[in-house]
């Protein structure tokens, strides 16, 4: 069993709170081994690299170093796609560029920070669950189930792109695919959901400009929502706090500003898995979602 340092990131401390609470509740119910990454810093999200790319690399290297040097762990796990992509990018850049590694060492020396040695790997929560349990492990631990809820699995951009920084993906059976990701599909199917054929699994929600270019974001999100409904989905399962907030926010905006109403529910995959494990909706923060799915879940007999 891999013990991991849990890196929730800033979004999960704020607007992504329900994702944090459902992750913690789920991990506890599944009896997996994780501790909080000690006194972490922000990964820089999608913004800081535009100020200077090295900032992004350094912020993530610092977090990896805290896990490796101060906590003696060799894996950082995060449920957030933004944090995940930044950590993976730092891991990749520092493994392939001695210059970048030297720069990180110099900066860490000046700032009196722990120094990353290249020996800590990054896992997305989806990857960790697949490694530790897989669909079979989930099936064994089910106390309830998802009663055939129809789900469109939405992975967004940062879980698979750019593929160059994810060398462990696309390695044949058992590995994740960067073109047709399926880890979330596999876990939710094991929990009793019916996954619809969703063509926009890795399309973009416009999260980078969700406020600064709101009309574009609304348009991109509407594509996602309408395609999910056209595919017969009742729920879009999310695994990224930025995508999740973007979908919720622009579903409301599309309705209020453009009069286009969609009914599909937006729920974190951790909340769905938690329900299948018999956890209460309150514990999973389902009532905190803006997308109000409580009546729907009752109707389906899931809660």
């Amino acid at each position: 069993m891999t013990k991991v340092a849990y890196y929730p990131g800033c979004a999960l401390e704020g607007s992504g709170g329900p994702y944090d609470r459902s992750t913690r509740a789920l991990v506890k119910a599944l009896d997996l081994d994780m501790v909080n990454l000690r006194d972490y810093n922000c990964c820089g999200a999608m913004e800081v690299k535009n100020v200077h790319p090295m900032l992004q690399t350094y912020l993530s290297a610092r977090n990896l170093a805290i896990a490796g040097e101060q906590m003696g762990l060799d894996a950082v796990m995060t449920p957030c796609n933004g944090c995940y992509q930044n950590l993976k990018k730092a891991e990749f850049d520092l493994a392939t560029s001695e210059d970048a590694m030297q720069m990180v060492r110099d900066l860490a020396g000046k700032a009196d920070d722990p120094v990353y040695k290249g020996d800590v790997r990054t896992l997305h929560l989806l990857e960790w669950l697949m490694e530790e349990l897989g669909p079979e492990g989930i099936k064994q631990r089910l106390t309830k189930g998802l009663n055939g809820i129809k789900i469109a699995n939405y992975y967004g951009c940062m879980y698979t792109r750019p593929r160059q920084i994810f060398p462990e993906k696309d390695q044949g059976p058992g590995s994740e695919s960067s073109y047709q990701p399926h880890f979330m599909d596999d876990l939710l199917a094991a929990a009793g959901a019916v996954n619809v054929d969703y063509p926009l699994k890795t399309a973009c929600c416009g999260g980078a400009h969700t406020l600064s270019d709101a009309d574009t974001s609304t348009r991109l999100v509407l594509n996602l929502l309408q395609a999910a409904e056209d595919s017969g989905a009742e729920v879009i399962a999310t695994e990224c706090p930025t995508c999740h907030s973007g979908l919720e926010m622009h579903q409301v905006r599309a309705e209020k500003e453009f009069g286009i109403k969609t009914r599909v529910k937006v729920i974190y995959f951790t909340q769905l898995l938690g329900l299948a494990m018999g956890l209460s909706p309150r514990k999973l923060g389902i009532h905190e979602n803006v997308s109000d799915s409580i009546d729907f879940l009752k109707e389906k007999g899931v809660i």
């Binding site: 820089g44 900066l107 973009c204 409301v252 309705e255």
Partner: protein, 247 residues
Amino acid sequence: MAIHEKSLIDADRIMEHKSLVVDGVDVSGHWNTMIKPRYISDYDDDFEKVIQSYGGGENVHRCWQCGSCTNSCTMYEVNTDFNPRYWIYLTRLGLKDEIIKDKDIIWQCVSCNKCTNICPKDVRPEGVMKALAHWLEDEGHTEIRPSHTFDEEFWGQVERTGRIEDAHVIMGFFKKTNQPLVQEWLTAFTMRMIKHLPFAHLMRMGMNFMFTPRTKSWGRTGKVLREYVEQQEEAARRRRQQVKETA
């Protein structure tokens, strides 16, 4: 004959006869399209080097114009004027005036990384878009874009505390871009958010807002990083100055 990306050609350079028969063959409409030749003397040989001096633009010289970036681009699907392949081409030829024509849309890149993912030459077009957007602002061709304001607001908080608190970033952003906080859809969003929220959760969100989370061990880190960025930017400015002087 159909012309790919006809929109890239200035309208007054396209010649087309509505009805035309040549040697008994009907070549009416787009079958007889001709493009007036043009002579360009106003190009900047060193423009590619300038763009390479901005973060993200380093690999622009590697492009062999396959068009995979534009083909996969999220923004191209929204607006066909958004054309990374073309802008990379113009950058390499030094046709700055042509790039300036698209100054109001280049910043819209959503960083979905479909282009960088698919590029066979590791040009990293997503980074080139950011480099071009920075250059347009630096040279005063556009005002500072909202997305740039957001980046700076975000980094400012990280530099000070090691972390961000999303409500602070959003409010700072609305303030700096002179947008009202009370917009109908935002109000509706907030109402739905608090509809089912128990009091304790509202308190927790409020506390998180009042007492900004910070990284306790942040110490000198923010200052060291700021100094590093300043040095790098200064060095990049000097490189650009040298390029200008040698030209």
